[in-house]
Structure formats: C-alpha cells, structure tokens
Amino acid sequence: MAIENVVETDVLVIGGSIAGCFAAIKAREQGLDVTIVDKAYAGKSGAGFAAGMGYMVFNPEWGLDLDACMKAINIKGEYINNREWTEIVFRDSWARYQDLLSWGAEFPVEEDTLLVKDFLPFGVVRIKRRKITPLLRSQTVKSGIKIIDRVMVNDLLKQDGKVVGAIGFPMDSEELYIFKAKATVLSAGYNSFKPAGAEICSLTGDGEAMAYRVGAEITCKEFPDVGNYGMNPYPAWRGGRGSRACFRYYTDAYGQEVKTHHQYESDLTLEFAMHAGRGPILWDIDSATPEEVDRMRKRMQHSDALESERIGFDPGHGGKFLQAGGGAAGAPNAQTAGVWPVNTKCATSIPGLYVAGECCGTRYLGAYHPAPGFGLTGSSVTGSRAGLGAAEYAQQAEEPVIGDKELSVLKRITYAPMEHKGGFSPRWVTQVLQNTMIPYFVLHIKHEKRLQAVLTVIEFLRDHLVPKLIARDNHELRLAHETKNMVLNAEMILRCSLLRTESRGQHYREDYPRRDDPAWLAWVKLRDEQGQMKLEKVPIPREWWPDLSQPYEERYPKRFPGE
C-alpha cells in the first residue's frame, strides 16, 4: 500500500483556479489555516484562463446602469437566471476587481478595452492570463496558504452526513493524500469531454462528479456552451482561447450569409445552418470593416495566439476560414450549471461543503451566456463568498473525524484502476465518449430519440467500461478518474436535456422547438438517490416570470427553427 500523507487543515480548497484562489485568500483573511490542492498548478489552472479574455465589472462611474444590466441578463438568459445571484455578481464585481487591482493586476480601462459596451450595457475589461495567474499564485503564497500542486483529488470524505475532507493522489509519486478539513470548498468544476484540439482538456467535471457522489444537488446541465473554432485547417484564431465570440460574418456553402445576432453572441446559428446541410460554414473576413479588422488584430495580440501566427492567419489579409461546430463540446453554460448553492454563501445541501467558480451553479446568467467576461467575474464572486462561508462554518465546526471503514472504502475506489490487470484504457473510453457526445446533433440540436439512444450508450459505458478502467501509473490513474467523472457528467447532461421538454436559450429540442411558459420557467435539479439519478423541476419564483401577456415573439426575440 502507498505511503499516506495526512493533511489537516481548517479549510480545504480543491482546485486552484481564480475561484479557488479567491476562496482560499478570503478564508485565510479570517485567520484560518487554509490549504489549496490542485491537479495541475494552483494559480495557473482552471477553466477561467482556458477561456478568459475579459472580466466583467459593474461600475456606475463608467456610465453603467444596474437596471439595464439586469434587464439585459433577464432577457438574454430567457428569464430563468437566478436574479438574486445576477444582482449579487454585478454588485460584488467592483470589489473583486478592486481585490485584483490591490494584488497588482493591471487592466487597461480605455475606451476600446470596455469590450462589449458598444453592443450591450455591460462593462468588460481586458484580462491577460499571463499577467493575472502569477499574481493569484503570489497572493496565495503571500497570504500563508499551503499549496499542494499536482495532486488530483478524486473523492470527498463524508462522515455522519458531513463533508470532512477529501482523498487524492499525486502525479509524481506513489503516495496517497488524505485531507482532513473542517470545511471544504470545491472549485474544480466545468466539464468538456476533452475534445481534440480544444484548449479545455483539463476540464473534466471532477467537482460536479465528486459533489454528486456525496449526495449534493446538481443543476442546469442541459444548456450547452457553444464555442466554435475557425479552422484552416487548424483553429485559426481563438477569440478568447476557443470561442467564436469575435466575429459575425459567416457564409455558407452556397454563398449565403449565415446571420448571427451580433458578434459577441455564440448562439446555435451555425449549428442550425450545419444541420440544414449548408456547411461548410466559412468565417468571412473580407466582409469585415477596417475598424473590425483592426479590433480583431488587437485582440489577437492580446490573447497570445501563437497558433494563429504559425498558420499564417492575419485578419488584415482577409480570406475565408473554415468553421467547425461544437468546439467546446460538452461544456455546459458557464456559471449556470453546477452544484446547487443553498444560500448566497455558496453552501450546499451537504454540511461542510461549499462550491465556487464553475462548480457553483448560481444560474446567474440563465439559459444563455451573454458576453465574454462573465465567467471570471462570477468565479471571483462565488470564490470569495464560498471562502468566507467555509471560514464561518469552520470556525464553529468540530475537529473532523474520519472512520477507518469509510477511509478504506475510498482507498479501494481510488486505486481500483491500478488493481485491474485487464479491462479498458481511459484514453479509449474517453475517445468513445467524445465520439458519442460531441456530434452537434447530440448536444446542440437535440431530440428525444437521439438523447435516449445516447443515454443508453452512456449507461453502458458507466456500467460496463468504467468499472473496468485500467491504470498502470498515477498519470493513467488520473485519466481513469477523469474518464469516470466525464461519463457521470455526460449522464447528467443527457438526463437534464431529456427532462426539459422545450427549447430555451442554448437548449434546443427539435421535438419541442418553443419555449413553454410558464411550465418551464423552472430549473432542473438532480441528485443521487440510492444509486439512481433523480431529477426534479424547481419552479423559479413567480415574481421573476416574464410578462405573460406580452406576445411570445416580443418576450423572446430569438426564433428557433421549427417553432
């Protein structure tokens, strides 16, 4: 058996992204002993910087208006945003922005850096990964937070109904890590299915999966993220490391324009065109105005797009670039999906467990991601709140006690793939999972029959392949646990998608192409009940309903095909 490292701490933060760093720093400011554990490197890791190029800040002095911001999110989120959280994120964003400034961050707030202000009522400032990540790291170190890098936490420890720590293993040695904590913040959320070529392969939904296994509630997995890639033949330019939220001129194979709503929106327009047999869809730079080309070039320089240079991509030269669907395939709508927080301190239904970042299903953006910059801000806000919430809980919590029986069960689960001499490699199972889930007609253009068929395959993966995953070393052990977590996330996505028998925002059902008000002015919430995934529908508060006397076409400016 492996050497055991027992780490005792007041607040354990799993995942050292922007959310995890905020949580740890805020908990530490309360005078508690805090530990961050990350499967890569705390400060640099996480979903935010895979995608992030903007940071949403609400500041009235920049001419921003809270009512206008709220209204825009309500309409774009198609009325199922949690308005309490929408307002919290707007209001807290200024303080989090100030935190980042006080840690040494630089944001150029000039006219052209308020990225979306021309189109939407929000203020989004530019953020640069290479400038922000070292600051997050140094601030956590400076605060006296213990950091454990390159250790993957695979499960939470639960004792007497409470989360009291976690179990994990390192990449570089054979030791086992047992974390005993009075409170735990999970900030290891967001899943994709490691799609080949997307810069988001570390996002395997470990947080949601771990939370689910201890009985926490998960919400809103049915809304897919819609990130696409310019391909020529490789991703030509990653607007924000992988989104098409950069440009609006598309033409189809017949030379017809494919109209998107505006340049920052990544809706399902391209998938609809693809589905109708109008592909290939080309990203048509020749149609851009000189100002737009200039803006695009600036943003390219900003987003460290080495690859674009390498394939000779220069917007100034114009041209048409191939666009491929389903780039961020598998990722649910940022900040909407995740573990259901039971209060505004980011507590969950399981005592001792707090959630932050993409792991925290605040639903503050509802059914649609409105613009770049909302992910990093939402993650800073929930990170900060979860850190404070966990600190408050830890201050009155008893010393965590972990029973031998519980521990030995989890140890067996942790090392099971190492015990299997024969079975299935995590790489192969992941590839099967990708081929099953990623096609546009599964996650983006949905239909009951296809969802059911894919669910049957995923259940088979879950029941037959996952229990027989093999790992020869700790690197493969990480892959095995990630694969298991991704399969579980896939099941959540499919079941939520099946239950929501309507279309709304980024969730489109070919067999139910209209919004169904008021029946679906509701969220889907799921949890484990004796080994079964149980789903329920939670109505949104009536005061958040849209005006139902308003004609449907005005309530919902966007049309779905077939409605």
């Binding site: 490197y41 390159r150 490691k194 080949a196 490789y234 460290d304 690859e307 390498r310 690197h475 990480r478």
Partner: protein, 72 residues
C-alpha cells in the same frame, strides 16, 4: 504535432513548463534534470508551456495529435 520539442541545449531545468501544463504532458527527467515530453497525445495546444518558458526552448506546433475532422 502538438508540443513538438523541448530543446535540451536551451532548457535550464527550471520546471516552469511542467507546472504550466494543465494536463501533465511534460515531466522532468530525473537523470538529465531537463524537461521532457512524456505524454504528447494529451497536449491540447494551449501554448502555455511555450509562452511561459524563460529560455524559449519549447515549440508547440498547431497540428493536433488527433487531427480535426469536420462534417463536410
């Protein structure tokens, strides 16, 4: 293809690239004390290692390990 090379002449063994990689592609070679490409099949071309390398010792090719397939 993906991370293509880490130049052993330029690599000073600082290990920054190992920590920059979100998916554990790069490891330190115990004998040479230099960074080596251990699992190229998992590289996602995020370029973080190349961008963060103080020695400019790394080159990441835009080609993917598993080539892209498009629908037409």
């Amino acid at each position: 293809m993906t991370i293509e090379r880490i130049d052993p002449e330029l690599c000073n063994g600082c290990g920054i690239c190992v920590n920059s990689c979100p998916v554990d592609v790069i490891r330190m070679d115990k004998e040479s004390q230099k960074a080596v490409i251990k699992y190229p099949e998992e590289c996602m071309c995020c370029d973080y290692c190349e961008l963060d390398c103080p020695q400019d010792a790394i080159y990441v090719s835009p080609e993917r390990y598993v080539p892209h397939m498009v629908a037409w």
